[in-house]
Symmetry: none
DNA sequence: CTTGACATCGCACAGATGTTCGTGTACAAT
DNA sequence: ATTGTACACGAACATCTGTGCGATGTCAAG
């Protein structure tokens, strides 16, 4: 039989994928209902039963949160694009083998982008309405690609404001000793005995460290004095 | 601190790992108790709380089956051999399930904080040495807590540089109409017909919007003209 | 128009499940 | 001896959560 899923069922699948990825445990039918604009638990159950008969999910009867996604089937149905992405693209450390469908992880770390914030436009805000998002930010891709060499630094003080990095921010870096021109790196300067976040430029045998904020002057050092610790991949600021 | 786990707690970890791998959802405390020869649910809870304070597991209060393993921490504690790595986890790191530490990718959204970055201090960078981390950033918690009401905005242009938010950054907000003084919010200003990110202050019937960058002047509006769309929870910048 | 499958809704109910609390034991410190 | 801490037990409790069932609306076929 041909799968004929309703938009609602697609939404349910997407929500489950996102929820499990984020929470590490499956949602309840009420949580699904709330997220997918379904007022009745029985309607959720009805749709879950449909999905189960299509073998897209597996359900344990009478067990709270007793459901899981059947990734091989989801892939066979061509639904990966609808509800998630294979992890293979996000983690290149995996690239040494053929992935079976089961070896996939949803790209659940995505949030709906409900608009752009730039002066002049209002934003429509209804975060619970999954369907209304016209774009999705894939935070998996954004933050966690090639996680192997990632580490974090917590920024102390205002020494990095020139790079628009504030006190308390978390800087996520990928360990590497070399950097391309223009990349922002964490560098240890031997002469100065300090570590800074700066844009890296190699001019012959000299290294120029440029602040993000143009009001701060560039700094020049012999290349031998600058040792790159890692490249800044992401900056995360928590505000609560 | 040194981890000092009882045999019972190791057993619990092992059981959780095995259960999640097989069932695709976490066990209840009663199931854990039955499997680990614990007659009382409160004893299971007691031990789970211990494991949680060691950050070996993550627990959602009052949520059935609301627990998950913290694999990076488990590895850091040298417990992978004790509890075994579930196939479902190995899959994320290695296609064939054979565990090689260097290639393994953990399926948990926390990264080690290997130090602080402030002028004057060197940073020891060995991202593979999880044990040396003096702090862990749980990005799950940092970004996706109460994710139901979260949405994102992509920043366009340099209109927010005064808030240290750059063009292209992703701003993650929690939907809410009210704000406390000092919180950074996305606000729609009726008179100006624009949306901005500013620190919010209510002075009597007036709203003061303060930029993060002190070189930008504050803005004042009647409270009726300012409508808060959401509170900024996180700012994420991608640099690659 | 009638019929029946499909999808939805609201609600009540029973079972599942985390939490709390009083109690007990063992052991080290005082 | 007394106190404090860590660990364990069991029962009671409140809530979470899946299921069942009757009612409603839609829509195409007869």
């Amino acid at each position: 039989m041909t799968l004929n899923l309703s938009e609602r069922q697609i939404n349910i699948l997407r929500y489950i994928a996102k929820f499990v990825d984020g929470q590490k445990y499956p949602p309840t039918i009420r949580e699904i209902g709330a997220a997918c604009d379904i007022s009745s638990t029985s309607v959720v159950k009805y749709n879950l039963s449909k999905l189960e008969s299509d073998e897209l999910i597996v359900r344990a009867a009478e067990v709270s949160r007793g459901l899981s996604l059947n990734w091989p089937k989801l892939e066979a149905a061509g639904l990966l694009g609808e509800i998630g992405q294979p992890v293979g693209q996000a983690i290149n450390g995996l690239a040494n083998g053929v992935h079976r469908a089961a070896e996939r992880v949803v790209n659940f770390f995505s949030v709906p982008v409900l608009g752009h914030i730039a002066a002049g436009e209002p934003i429509q805000v209804d975060p619970t309405d999954y369907a209304s998002a016209d774009e999705w930010i894939d935070l998996n891709e954004a933050i966690f690609r090639d996680r192997e060499k990632l580490f974090a630094l917590r920024v102390q003080g205002d020494s990095m404001v020139d790079a628009s990095v504030l006190d308390g921010d978390i800087v996520i870096l990928r360990q590497q000793e070399r950097a391309e021109n223009g990349e922002m790196v964490a560098a240890w300067i031997t002469g100065q005995e300090e570590t800074t976040l700066k844009h890296f430029y190699l001019d012959g045998k000299n290294v120029r460290l440029r602040a993000a904020n143009p009001t701060y002057p560039d700094m020049f050092f012999p290349a031998s004095q600058v040792s790159v610790k890692g490249k800044v991949v992401s900056v995360i600021r928590q505000l609560e």
